[in-house]
């Protein structure tokens, strides 16, 4: 018997199939099946994408649909998953999945494409308190992507470039549009790209940290979401938080889907 979690993010859909509880009471993961993002083709509806990916995941895992007892969706498009039995927000799903993967974590920082958030989590992964960025994208991965484009650097190189810098250049803009003009000014001032990259990632990290402080920073801290793949951001975040380590789960993009699958197993959505 299995449960499934489907994360309908703003850029991608992720599915996790979770094998049901074993006799010792510990859930056993059966990762699925799909370990890569599926980008939305422009002509594909969200619910069609979810159905397609879910079917592929089942096939890949060799599981029939009726073996899956419960499906819980999460993410910005969670309500689009018509075949789900319930839905939970990214906040609850992210915290549940992150604490499952990193049981010592009490502060979960999730920086995805559209939103950054800080969550204070209980030992069972339940949300105690949370804070998120509002209408501004400056605390989110989309901001870093936009700035990488302005620097004409592939996203992969952007984070690594920042690690080569030891400069601290304050970036004051809180908004993607205005920050881009700051970046352009720095480029025109012949500032090395790695220094600009660090300035951008420091700015994101500072913004995220200010948000996390609202709920309190209690170690261990775990980072989830796409920005885990950006080593420059991870370093900037450590600096901003003033902590020695930030836990990085494997397959960070799947943490929310995993959390949804765990919540499905709990029967709580």
């Amino acid at each position: 018997m299995y449960t499934a979690g489907i994360d309908m993010g703003s850029r991608s859909v992720k599915v996790v199939l979770l094998e049901e509880l074993k006799v010792d009471g510990a859930p056993q993961l059966k990762w699925g099946v799909k370990k890569t993002h599926i980008m939305f083709p422009e002509d594909l509806d969200m619910d069609v994408a979810a159905e397609k990916l879910f079917t592929e995941a089942l096939q890949s895992a060799g599981i029939s649909r009726d073996q899956v007892t419960r499906v819980v969706s999460t993410g910005a498009g969670r309500k689009q998953v018509k075949f789900a039995n319930g839905d939970v927000t990214e906040v609850s799903a992210g915290a549940r999945g992150a604490v499952f993967m990193c049981p010592s974590a009490r502060t979960v920082i999730d920086v995805g494409a559209e939103e950054g958030r800080g969550v204070k989590a209980a030992p069972d992964g339940k949300v105690v308190d949370f804070a998120g960025n509002e209408k501004c994208a400056a605390g989110a991965g989309a901001f870093a992507e936009s700035m990488a484009r302005a620097l004409q650097l592939p996203l992969k190189d952007f984070g690594e470039a920042s690690l080569r810098s030891n400069k601290t250049i304050p970036m004051n803009a809180q908004c993607t549009v205005f920050a881009e003009s700051e970046v352009v000014s720095l480029i025109h001032a012949n500032t090395p790209k790695e220094d600009i990259a660090k300035a951008v990632l420091d700015a994101v990290a500072n913004r995220v940290t200010a948000m996390v402080r609202r709920v309190g920073i209690e170690e261990d801290v775990v980072l989830i979401g796409g920005m885990v793949h950006n080593p420059g951001f991870v370093q900037s975040l450590k600096n901003a938080l003033g902590v020695e380590k930030v836990l990085l789960p494997e397959l960070p993009e799947y943490v929310a889907a995993l959390g949804a699958a765990l919540i499905a197993a709990d029967g709580n959505a």
């Binding site: 319930g86 839905d87 308190d129 949370f130 509002e134 209408k135 959505a269």
Partner: protein, 438 residues
């Protein structure tokens, strides 16, 4: 899927009357000149019993409820906001103020016709925007204006000299009003208005106190349409009489177990003005069986409160109920100033911790499960210290969430994101939506 019917519910009988009184208020103001009456402008916090002494044909236009009404008409509101911005005012200024100024600039009144110019503006100074609001309006309309500084510190520290500082300004304002209107001031009308205001604001607090009952007889979205009468004309006979009728009806609802939200299983409270154009967020809460029982804003913007002998919060006892006869202008003004200076929503201007304590009292006595703070970009005054309130509430172990918005500028509110945040908050309270996947 219909919501679970846990409690009986029924419409408020006095709902329609509240709407009628509100409309009459705005039309009376617009038509005051047809009968030779006086019009004056000021905020909902103006000491409105004082102009009442000029006669029984004196009508006010209070700025915030007017702008809130405009906020519910997005097209008209946009015209007003555009006009204010075109005049050079930044969009991070008080949203009500910009709307009010815009309504003057485009010379249109929401309730029909041209914007009715007041004979004078009369305003208190405690909010950082209020005095500038009416100073500028007076300049544009070439209207005389008078301001009473009520910033004398928190009520708990009130002493004779602080009280007299305000009382003396009130005396001066009366002389000034006689001069600018050419009318002789009637102390009997002042005394009557002071008594009316004390009745109105104490009765409103009593009505809010009735919401301690489970199930709550009123939800906050409904309360917005009721408390507004005090923001319009708290010193009027009609306002005090209405609240007396309303108190009796709400008391009856409590006795019969009539709920505002039939599936009540969770009680939340809000803070500051809501985003007026998006009040459906309160209906969204009901999908979780959550009722917003009110807030310090709804309770204490106009309601006047006191701590009762048993330590609970309740309506302040009026001087009339204490057997005090009000017979002179000076006595009326002293009692009136003391009464207003105890207004809960004036206290946080001095120290956010005072507000936090009042909020914790509401959580405790109104059996609140969680607090939803509106980070209101449209009102610096009431958003002042709100993040400190958040810390204080969280430290007390009370679940709390924040969302950003603007009471009067819909460009700054994101409904989908706010609903998403509400979803997360409800999950932390272990609540599920009843209308989720069928």
């Amino acid at each position: 899927m219909a919501a679970t019917q846990k409690y009986p519910t029924e419409p408020l009988k006095l709902w329609k009357k509240a709407k009628e009184l509100r409309e009459k208020y705005y039309l009376d103001y617009a038509r005051a000149k047809e009968k030779g009456g006086i019009r004056w402008g000021g905020s909902a916090w103006a000491l409105d019993a004082i102009p009442a002494g000029l006669g029984e044909d004196v009508h006010s236009l209070t700025g915030e409820p007017y702008a809130a009404s405009v906020s519910n008409e997005p097209k008209f509101n946009k015209q007003c906001q555009d006009a204010a911005e075109a005049a050079g005012f930044a969009r991070d200024l008080c949203a009500y103020m910009r709307t009010y100024w815009g309504s003057i600039y485009i010379n249109k009144y929401l309730f029909g016709g041209e914007f009715p110019k007041p004979d004078f503006n009369f305003q208190t100074q405690i909010c950082c925007s209020h005095s500038k609001w009416y100073q500028h309006a007076s300049k544009v309309e070439n209207t005389p204006d008078f301001y009473i500084d009520v910033g004398v510190g928190p009520y708990k520290d009130l002493d004779e000299s602080r009280l007299m500082y305000v009382v003396n300004q009130c005396h001066e304002s009366i002389e000034w009003m006689e001069k600018v209107t050419g009318r002789k001031y009637d102390d009997e009308l002042l005394i009557k208005a002071v008594k009316n205001e004390m009745r109105s604001t104490s009765l409103w607090a009593e009505i809010c106190t009735l919401n301690k009952a489970v199930p709550a007889p009123l939800d906050e979205k409904t309360m917005y349409s009721l408390y507004v009468l005090a923001t319009l004309s708290k010193s009027s006979q009609w306002c005090a009489d209405y609240y007396q009728e309303l108190r009796d009806e709400v008391k009856d609802r409590v006795a019969r177990g009539i709920a505002a939200v039939a599936n009540e299983r969770c009680r939340v409270m809000s803070d500051t003005q809501p985003p007026w154009a998006f009040l459906k967020i309160f209906r969204y809460l009901e999908q979780y069986g959550a009722v917003s029982i009110g807030s310090l804003y709804t309770f204490g913007l106009e309601g006047i409160w006191e701590t009762k002998p048993d330590g609970t919060w309740g309506p302040r006892t009026t001087p009339m109920d204490q057997g005090i006869a009000i017979t002179t202008r000076d006595q009326a003004l002293r009692l009136y100033c003391d009464w207003n200076l105890s207004k809960p929503q004036w206290q946080h201007f001095y120290d956010p911790r005072l507000k936090t304590e009042m909020m914790k009292t509401i959580v405790r006595e109104w059996k609140v499960d969680g607090v939803m703070l509106h980070l209101n970009r449209g009102c610096e005054g009431l958003s002042l210290g709100i993040m400190e309130n958040r810390l204080g509430i969280a430290a007390a172990g009370i679940p709390v969430m924040t969302y950003e918005g603007n009471m009067g500028d819909e460009r700054e509110f994101d409904m989908v994101r706010t609903q998403n945040r509400v979803d997360s908050f409800m999950e932390t309270l272990d609540l599920k939506r009843e209308f989720a996947h069928a």
